[in-house]
């Protein structure tokens, strides 16, 4: 069964329609890169999956269960339930908790259900992915550098017991070398039966390391980025 099956998804904020009738299917184990310029809907797309847009319409099946549907208001009201089903989002702009320690920030990713009890083991795993965080565990997250904050934000998403990871612009605002390391670490993670969508403006960062790349243009999914890359196969189930 597909991890995610999106059919006719439109979404936006108030009178503004950002996404236009998107469809997309993601299979277990798949890593999908979502590239496109600022303001073309990458963040809105990831937000719509977890119900964080102003309004939305269209079917979003997560492992066969409907988490989308028509919604005219109530931004974020269903997000906690959707997240608890097994979707982890590392949102744009970190959204970490500045007054909590790095350890507490990471642990917060394991709030959901029984994962709380295994949070120590999970934290160890995150520190293997992001070793620079190890000496910072006791430090207040608000005092970290931009790259460290991003690691905390992505690490928090990885702490949960999710089968779909959504990572929004992991390289945004970071020095090239730091973003290179961060994305490399992110793409080496063993997903098992899970899947991952990475939204990224910087195509060379993810090129060749994800299973497929989709272009996002004016709120629509395009294959041209994939075609431009030649050997990257188009994602399954994309309707143009």
């Amino acid at each position: 069964m597909a991890i995610l099956e999106i059919e006719g998804l439109s979404a936006g904020y108030g009178p503004v329609r950002v996404l236009h009738d998107l469809s997309l299917t993601i299979e277990p184990g798949e890593r999908l890169g979502l590239v496109g310029l600022n303001g073309h809907g990458k963040t809105t797309f990831l937000s719509a999956i977890v119900g964080l847009t102003g309004w939305q319409d269209g079917s979003v099946l997560f492992r066969g269960e409907q988490i989308g549907g028509r919604r005219t208001h109530g931004m974020g009201r269903k997000t906690p339930q959707i997240v608890r089903r097994g979707i982890a989002l590392a949102p744009q702009g970190d959204a970490i908790f500045p007054g909590l320690s790095v350890r507490e920030n990471l642990d917060s990713g394991a709030y959901t259900g029984a994962t709380w009890r295994s949070r120590r083991k999970r934290r160890e795993r995150i520190l293997e992915v992001f070793p620079p965080l190890a000496p910072l565990l006791g430090q207040t997250a608000g005092t970290l550098s931009g790259g460290e904050r991003r690691m905390v934000s992505v690490g928090r998403a990885l702490m949960s017991d999710a089968s779909l990871y959504l990572v929004d612009e992991p390289s945004l605002g970071l020095a090239p070398k730091i973003s290179l390391n961060l994305v490399a670490a992110l793409l080496e993670i063993d997903l098992g039966d899970g899947a991952m969508i990475i939204a990224e403006q910087n195509l060379p960062l993810i090129e060749g390391r994800v299973d497929s790349v989709l272009g996002m243009h004016a709120g629509d999914l395009k294959l041209d980025v994939g075609e431009a890359l030649g050997d990257v196969p188009p994602a399954a189930g994309v309707h143009l």
Partner: protein, 297 residues
């Protein structure tokens, strides 16, 4: 001088509890709860009702005292949930939630006073002394059991709340929501249920303060107005949302009130308190909390 310090500590304990309730509510759900006075009175009347029945059953001593404290907190916690059901849940994801909820809580506060008037009449209701009657002498000064009990109970309650917020999963969720609502939603923390939990806890703190204050004053339909004002002053001076800041502000405001009442006049107290909060907000717009905590927002 020692008397002034003791009096300051007692005032700080009583008003600090309400202020922390107001501060927590503001920081976690963005609602300035003007119905805190209504919640305060609800606890007072619940405790009074319990005391009426308990005295009828011949209950006295520790059983009566503990019951008065517990029922005061319970009554206010329920009133807090009631306020949440009216002013928080239906409005939470609408535009201008802060303004709407401010007006809704103001309405609850005004209507609430009338409801108490209809239910219990205008007479003042006394609560039985919770800490017994008597004094202990320490050197040149002394304090009554009531003063000592107020300081101890308020401090223990505050310590418990802080410990719970620092070490439990629910407490961590609450602090997370205070710092970044989007981040909290993303990790599966529901703003709605956590918000109701905050309102119940804030209510319980206010109810405790209500019982403690009723040891000196009476419970009456309007007895929540003055504690609400002082609580608002303290939470503003403390920098809405910061517990250390609120505790420091409670000490400062308590001391100012005690000094003014002792050396000037009781009637000047509101002027002095408002002058202090204006000065703090001019020089420290984030209140005392900004001085005590390096990272906020």
């Amino acid at each position: 001088m020692i008397e002034v310090v003791i009096s300051a500590l007692v005032l700080a304990s009583m008003y600090g509890l309400i202020a922390i309730g107001i501060s927590l509510t503001w920081a976690s759900i963005g609602m300035l709860n003007l119905a805190q006075g209504f919640i305060f009175t609800a606890g007072g009347y619940t405790a009074w009702l319990y005391a009426q029945y308990a005295e009828g059953w011949g209950l006295e001593g520790v059983g009566l005292s503990a019951g008065v404290l517990i029922f005061g907190m319970l009554g206010s916690a329920l009133a807090g949930l009631f306020v949440g059901a009216i002013a928080f849940l239906p409005l939470q994801d609408r535009d201008n939630f802060r303004t709407r909820s401010l007006i809704a809580t103001l309405a609850i506060s005004l209507i609430g006073t009338q409801i108490w008037l209809i239910l219990f009449g205008p007479q003042n209701k006394p609560l039985p002394p919770v800490f017994g009657e008597g004094r202990i002498e320490i050197g040149p000064a002394g304090m009554s059991y009531q003063q000592l009990g107020t300081i101890i109970v308020a401090s223990v309650m505050l310590a418990l709340v802080i410990l719970w917020m620092r070490s439990s999963r629910r407490g961590l969720q609450m602090r997370a929501m205070m710092m970044d609502p989007l981040g909290a939603a993303v990790v599966g923390v529901s703003v709605r249920s956590t918000g109701m939990r905050v309102l119940a806890i804030s209510g319980a703190l206010t109810g405790l303060s209500s019982v403690l204050l009723a040891q000196v004053f009476f419970v009456s339909p309007t007895s929540g107005v003055q504690p609400l004002t002082t609580g608002l002053i303290i939470s503003l001076a403390g920098g809405l949302g910061s517990i250390p800041g609120t505790v420091a502000a409670a000490g400062l405001i308590g001391l100012a009130e005690a000094l003014t009442a002792r050396y000037l006049q009781q009637s000047l107290v509101p002027f002095v308190l408002f002058a202090i909060v204006v000065l703090i907000l001019i020089f420290r717009p984030r209140g005392l909390g900004g001085l005590l905590e390096d990272v906020r927002e």
